[in-house]
């Protein structure tokens, strides 16, 4: 659609979705599952950044932490506090998984805000795998730890007996929608936010060309700065929300029937 409108020339020429294209890093060949693409590159950069922060910066293990070490300790205690608050001490066994999820999502989100970068988490394929992994892990864990008692989360014993089958149906549907909403929330937020910034950038390019001396440029640039600040908040909150929902789902598996 967008490509056809190019022919009209002077009209709005904005391609906010182009930044989400996956392409091969070497050559123009088709993208197979083993092809190194920009997704691979930015995942790799995120992992290098995580290793730099969590391994290299904390190598000294000083009593008085350096700047990098205090950031790493802040993230660690933040995630630990989140798990203890929601699942209780029993959830600390699964700390490594939740910490990994949080770090991966946080770093890929924040790195995606760099100009010319690629937001790995803006693709439903990536977040879908993360959310399905959480869903399957939690379901398996629930059955392994509680046996058939895990099914109690669908059978709400506080409700009147007549209502229980109806509530059970609603609970079952909402249980299976979880991975969908879990993944779509993250991917949708990332995609929408970045597309908005690109749309304003398109306004800036247009106004720079059409106003005298490009004075019209000021308004969209101020708007981009404001949106960028908002996006910085959103990417961190979305990483937090993904992790905290993982904790909430984990709580269901650890203590069903509450």
């Amino acid at each position: 659609m967008a490509a056809e409108e190019n022919a009209t020339g002077a009209t709005l020429n904005i391609h906010p979705m182009d930044q989400f294209q996956v392409y091969s890093l070497f050559g123009d060949g088709p993208v197979h599952w083993y092809t190194p693409t920009n997704v691979t590159l930015w995942l790799f950069i995120a992992i290098v950044a995580i290793v730099l922060l969590m391994v290299i910066a904390t190598r000294g293990r000083n009593v008085v932490p350096s700047r990098g070490q205090s950031v790493a300790e802040l993230i660690y205690s933040f995630v630990r506090g989140m798990i203890v608050d929601i699942t209780g001490e029993a959830g600390l066994k699964y700390f490594p998984y939740i910490m990994t999820l949080f770090l991966l999502i946080l770093f890929t989100n924040v790195l995606g805000l760099l100009p010319y970068s690629f937001t790995v988490t803006s693709h439903i394929a990536v977040t879908g795998v993360l959310a399905m992994a959480v869903f399957m892990a939690v379901t398996l864990l629930g059955f392994v730890l509680n046996g058939t008692k895990f099914l109690k989360i669908f059978w709400i014993s506080e409700a009147p007996l007549v209502l229980r089958p109806i509530l059970a149906m609603i609970e079952i549907i909402s249980y299976f929608v979880r991975p969908v909403s879990h993944s779509v929330r993250l991917a949708g937020n990332m995609m929408a936010g970045h597309a908005v910034i690109k749309v304003f950038a398109g306004f800036a390019a247009m106004l720079a060309a059409t106003t005298p001396l490009g004075v019209g440029l000021v308004a969209p640039i101020v708007a981009i700065m404001a949106m960028y600040g908002l996006e910085l908040l959103v990417v961190v909150i979305q990483a937090y929300v993904f992790t905290i929902l993982t904790c909430v789902y984990l709580k269901d598996a650890l203590h069903p029937g509450h």
């Binding site: 659609m1 056809e4 009209t8 979705m17 989140m82 608050d85 929601i86 909403s181 779509v184 929330r185 949708g188 937020n189 929408a192 909150i237 937090y240 929300v241 905290i244 929902l245 909430v248």
Partner: protein
Amino acid sequence: MALEGDIAQMGALIGAGLACTGMGGAAIGVGNVVGNYLSGALRNPAAANGQMATMFIGIAFAEALGIFSFLVALLLMFAQGF
């Protein structure tokens, strides 16, 4: 703009625009959650910090439905079967 495309595409694009009204619902939902949190927090500031996580979970649930409408709009625009 020149007349091109067919009526099915027109319907899909109008539908994509209409799907954006879902954002309003999400906005009301998120506003409700935060507003009620704030009014509760101002009455009892000591309990406010403990409920911060609950507030974010509430925001996430309210907002997910708005994101679904965005998803419907995207599907209508880019993934139509005709």
